[in-house]
């Protein structure tokens, strides 16, 4: 049944759909890796997955739990050192799409994955920037995936970890894209059943809606089947 899917499933499927076949993706673990593998196992079989651990062209049968799982190396076209993956492959300009998540995003698409609160006396110390600053700056295109809530979608970041202008931000409520004039992220699409009011409530800034706000195509049976198989295999492995 198409109408039975969670908000997270709608988000993951929408992210997978952003990838066309043969896209070279630099993927982090978690939602980005799930979305990229979903694309690879459905409409875009030749999507190229590049992980920052140095694996190029990984074709994992199940979702990796970490960015350096053995299966990523075993199924890769090539495994290179970490300096090489960042210098020759990412900075060298070979990555079409970089997938990013974060704890906070601002209306310009800048991201925070460093701290909540003051840097020197943080309320929450987050893991840190990782590869995000260079992915945001050096991939030809950046896609952000994160759940839309007023604590995450903020007017001002607690810390600017990576400066980027994503072409699209994919959330559990819908999609945001930069306004062509102002550059500010505006809501351009909502997932089926989500209201504009929910999107506004999920955003910590005064969210603008696109004039032609549309509804995303609901996840297909095939997409949901593959996604659920991926997730259940992942849970068994953990």
């Amino acid at each position: 049944m198409n109408d039975e899917f969670t908000a997270d499933e709608a988000m993951t499927v929408a992210a997978a759909r952003e990838l066309t076949d043969r896209t070279v993706c630099f993927v982090g673990i978690g939602l980005p890796s799930t979305a990229a593998n979903l694309a690879r196992l459905t409409h875009a079989p030749r999507t190229v997955l590049v992980y920052e651990s140095g694996t190029i062209g990984s074709k994992p049968a199940t979702l990796p739990l970490s960015i350096g799982d053995g299966e990523l190396a075993e199924t890769a076209d090539s495994v290179v050192s970490v300096p090489e993956i960042f210098n020759y492959w990412l900075q060298g300009g070979w990555i079409d799409v970089g997938f990013l998540g974060a704890a906070q995003i601002d209306p310009r698409g800048h991201l925070n994955s460093t701290v909540i609160g003051d840097y020197d006396h943080p309320k929450v110390r987050l893991p840190g920037a990782g590869g995000a600053p260079e992915i945001a700056a050096l991939a030809k295109d950046t896609i952000v995936i994160m759940r839309q809530s007023p604590r995450a979608f903020v007017e001002k970041l607690d810390f600017l970890s990576s400066a980027g202008s994503p072409s699209v931000v994919i959330t559990d409520l819908g999609l945001l894209r930069p306004d062509p004039d102002s550059g500010e992220l505006i809501q351009t699409e909502l997932h089926p059943g989500v209201t504009a009011e929910q999107a506004r409530e999920g955003t910590g800034w005064d969210l603008k809606l696109a004039g032609d706000l549309t509804e995303t195509e609901p996840p297909s049976n095939e997409e949901l089947t593959v996604l659920r198989e991926l997730k259940s295999a992942l849970e068994q492995a953990a």
Partner: protein, 266 residues
């Protein structure tokens, strides 16, 4: 030429209080056994260096071995936070932890500059981020040909660099394969290097994707079977994903953490 030592001897000889120490590994081949030996030998005031500090750094920090960390991403991959790291940063327990924070590309290039005996490396990262202002070890440099401004980061040359590998031969030549991360760079950049290995063998058979570190580029080799557990050693054992999840519970409060360490590390 590398000395073949016991893990206990190797750590005693190579790691001293106040040293800067990098125990590297990118998910794969994380030198847990060496980290535990550092804890058992009660090293103090270490500057811990690592791109992706995970459980073993959480343990070192929680046991009070470290006063500073140089890193780019500190978390429990696929699970969440490092609770002992957060407790140190947020509450200063068991002692305050100074942070020097970079991006992955910056750290990788700092190691590569160290291995190359250059004082700094150049990267297109950092620009436009608050790391530029916050982290004192990021500067800019101008291209003498184009005038373009780029980010510069200083070389990292740890006092001790520690990695885990699958094998060494009896001469102390080291072989590792699978995801090799920044292991070569660490060994070459460090003042003293320790490689723990799954086993010492008579001969290192060539293998696809394997790198070899010649014995004369390594200070010490120590046999440490299962020495990367709960991370994995490609073609030896898998990652113990369950342990990474259990760690979230174990490390949740100070008492359960200390009790677990007492029982399992000593």
């Amino acid at each position: 030429m590398a000395e073949l030592l016991s893990l206990e001897e190797a750590v005693a000889q190579l790691v001293h209080d106040g040293d800067s120490v990098a125990l590297e590994g990118f998910t794969h081949l994380i030198p847990f056994a060496a980290g535990h030996e550092i804890i058992r030998q009660r090293r103090r005031d270490l500057t811990l260096i690592r791109m992706t500090p995970d459980l073993v750094y959480d343990q070192l920090i929680g046991m009070g071995c470290a006063s500073k960390m140089i890193f780019s991403w500190g978390g429990n991959p696929g699970v969440g936070s490092l609770r002992r790291f957060r407790d140190a940063v947020e509450n200063g327990w068991p002692e305050p932890l100074e942070l020097e924070e970079h991006s992955h590309a910056g750290m990788a290039n700092r190691y590569a500059a160290g291995a190359s005996n250059l004082p700094f490396a150049v990267t297109r990262g950092y620009l436009g981020t608050e790391l530029m202002e916050r982290t004192r070890t990021v500067a800019t440099v101008e291209c003498p040909f184009t005038g373009e401004e780029l980010a510069a980061v200083p070389a990292l040359r740890p006092d001790a660099g520690i990695v885990h590998a699958q094998r060494a031969d009896r001469e102390g030549n080291v072989q590792l394969w699978g995801i090799t991360g920044v292991q070569k760079e660490i060994v070459l950049a460090s003042e003293r290097s320790l490689v723990t290995v799954e086993e010492v063998v008579d001969e290192l058979e060539p293998r696809p994707g394997a790198i070899v570190l010649p014995t004369w580029a390594v200070t010490a080799v120590a046999e440490a079977p299962n020495g990367a557990h709960p991370s994995y050693a490609h073609d030896y054992y898998d990652r113990d994903n369950g342990f990474y999840q259990r760690w979230d519970e174990i490390s949740k409060d100070r008492e359960s953490f200390r009790a677990w360490m007492q029982e399992n590390v000593g």
